[in-house]
């Protein structure tokens, strides 16, 4: 079985900061997306079970070599970086075209992606790739088994603790969710680490022309975040104090402090709860 894992290089969302005066992001340090470890672990487990090879790919500039080299230490067979200078500032569409070309060149039985990245998180990639490659897909996967006939049994995470189980025929593409497994450590000087040291990250330049580098969406500028304006609310008519309240998301919230008998209090709580309990 040939498994491809798609990884992403992101700016660390924990330490990145937004400078209001220059309207730009600062403190940008590129790290491996936390979801990458889960994807890689799932790929390694499947390879241990069924044999074959595991190939890590990523669309990234040269800085991306670090995360791909890391996958070799964990035991990936090959690591390939895809890049073209036209991809600077490209949207998800163009990036997905680059990935598609890379995947088609390598050939695959199973593609593992993260369902969404931790920076912009558009969730577009898995379904779009499935559409173009015309293969079965499932996103937000929280549990994965393979049965005897090489069929994938995938548990999809829905909202509020609901799950759905799907059966997929290989070749397929899956979007994994954080928490699907427990990522391993690559011990220093272990056998896989030694082998990884000897391997090199390969490079592949996708041939992008006018048709598949079509910029469909573009970010105009960055602004400080605020909760959304309620329907029928005129911002210009608000006083400064109300504006501050809106920024904190406190505008229009009714508050009640109740002091009284426990029975009356319990009735009040029940009235609040009854809608959520439906």
């Amino acid at each position: 079985m040939r498994i491809i894992v798609c990884l992403k290089l992101i700016a660390d969302p924990n330490i990145i900061e937004f400078d209001i005066l220059s309207e730009k992001l600062c403190n940008i340090y590129f790290v491996s997306d936390p979801i990458n470890y889960y994807i890689l672990e799932e790929g390694l487990r499947l390879r241990e079970k069924f044999g074959g090879e595991l190939i890590a790919i990523s669309v990234a500039p040269e800085a991306g070599d670090i995360i791909l080299k890391n996958t070799l230490f964990f035991g990936a067979n090959r690591a390939i970086r895809l890049w073209d200078d036209q991809l600077v500032g490209a949207d998800t569409w163009s990036v997905s075209q680059a990935i598609k070309q890379g995947i088609e060149k390598i050939g695959f039985d199973l593609i593992l992606c993260g369902s969404r990245s931790n920076d912009t998180g558009s969730e577009f990639m898995v379904s779009a790739l499935a559409h173009w490659l015309n293969i079965p897909s499932a996103t937000r996967i929280i549990g994965l088994n393979v049965d005897r006939d090489n069929k994938l049994i995938a548990h999809k995470k829905l909202l509020r603790g609901e799950r759905e189980t799907y059966c997929l025929q290989l070749p397929a593409i899956l979007g994994l969710e954080e928490g699907i497994n427990e990522p391993r450590y690559a011990a220093l000087f272990s056998k896989t680490y030694q082998e990884g040291l000897r391997k090199k990250v390969e490079f592949f330049k996708p041939s992008l022309n006018g048709q598949n580098i079509n910029q469909l969406i573009t970010t105009l500028r960055l602004i400080p975040s605020r909760p959304r304006v309620k329907v029928g609310l005129d911002i210009s008519a608000l006083s400064m104090q109300e504006k501050l309240k809106m920024m904190r998301g406190e505008l229009g919230h009714k508050k009640e402090i109740f002091e009284g008998s426990p029975e009356a209090a319990a009735k009040k709580i029940f009235a609040e709860l009854s809608e959520a309990m439906k």
Binding site: L168, I223, K268
Partner: protein, 326 residues
């Protein structure tokens, strides 16, 4: 080009899901910003009657797609593709649910149009539509615009959606459509729910938080309340240290950050580290004996009283109503 704003209204087994009304309201809100016509799109494999509820959102048209076979995201995206090519709406909006995102991305891929997911707001600037999206974990908002021609595709953040009804009801025009078949590659097996004891705090709809004010003997009652209302029991760091709850159930900066509809804080004063974890919650109900506890600043309903009396009487009331219901 028509100026229709389509919003995808999710239904399940002939019934509307809880995002349905919010999406209908969203369609009207967006239509107001861009001077368009609000429309709804419903797919159903069951016979379906547009209920009284949907009339209160001011929708002008409802495109209804009826299918004999069970629907899959591929089929819905394929039918929406043909409908969008034929009628050319200005917007197609989805809720940011697993189904909505999957259909949206597939539709964007087949139509070759721009797709912006998890938007919180729309704006009009120099006659160009802009979408506001929160990135890097809410640290900053990005203003994104579509470079492609309409339809503009977007999914809307679930916490941004609001259920706003109009004052008068309107009878939407219902237009019946055919589902264009496309066989799904994925085979659906079953739908199930995670049991309450294994459910993560982040996924729970109702969460009960316990703090220093709760004694270990009383946890039995709290757990009973949790089972009755379908809520998961979590708590503060002090509750973890005193053995009331396990570490996975810690709420706060170093624990879990909630995303629930209701949070009931029992015997919690509201230290900043704890409040950090509950700020995304929509409704906070606090029970505390001291009336100057900081938690009351954040609570929608604050009860000043003895929790050892309030909680048992709450359980009594719930039990009574359940009996009446049966």
């Amino acid at each position: 080009m028509s100026h229709e704003v389509w919003s995808f209204i999710e239904s399940e087994e002939g019934k509307l899901r809880d995002t349905a009304g919010k999406m209908a309201a969203e369609s009207c809100r967006t239509a107001k910003i861009f001077d368009g016509e609000p429309c709804g799109v419903i797919f159903s494999s069951h016979p379906f009657k547009v209920s009284e509820e949907l009339k209160w959102y001011g929708l002008k048209k409802i495109y209804f797609f009826r299918s004999e076979t069970p629907l899959s995201p591929e089929m819905i995206a394929c039918s929406l593709h043909y409908a969008a090519v034929k009628l050319n709406p200005q917007f197609i909006l989805f809720a940011n649910t697993p189904l909505g995102v999957e259909i949206g991305s597939r539709l964007a891929a087949s139509l070759q149009k721009g797709f912006i997911s998890n938007c919180t707001d729309f704006e009009l600037e120099r006659e160009k539509p802009l979408a506001r999206k929160s990135i890097y974990g809410g640290k900053v908002d990005a203003l994104i615009t579509w470079m492609s021609s309409p339809p503009y595709l977007a999914t809307i953040n679930l916490s941004a959606l609001e259920n706003v009804k109009t004052k008068s009801n309107t009878e939407p025009e219902i237009i019946h459509n055919e589902v264009v078949g496309m066989v799904s590659h994925t085979q659906f097996i079953e739908k199930w729910k995670v049991s309450l004891s294994k459910l993560s705090l982040k996924e729970a709809k109702i969460v009960i938080g316990v703090g220093k004010g709760v004694e270990a003997k009383f946890m039995q009652v709290i757990n009973m309340l949790g089972e009755l209302i379908g809520g998961v029991v979590g708590g503060t760091r002090i509750a973890v240290f005193s053995g009331l709850i396990s570490v996975e159930r810690l709420i706060g900066t170093t624990g879990k950050w909630l995303n629930s509809d209701v949070y009931i804080a029992i015997g919690i004063s509201g230290a900043p580290q704890h409040v950090m974890g509950i700020k995304e919650t929509k409704n906070i109900i606090a029970i505390n004996i001291s009336n100057d506890a900081p938690i009351f600043k954040y609570a929608k309903l604050g009860i000043v009283g003895d929790l050892y009396k309030v909680v048992p009487s709450l359980i009594n009331i719930i039990n009574e109503t359940m009996k009446k219901g049966k």
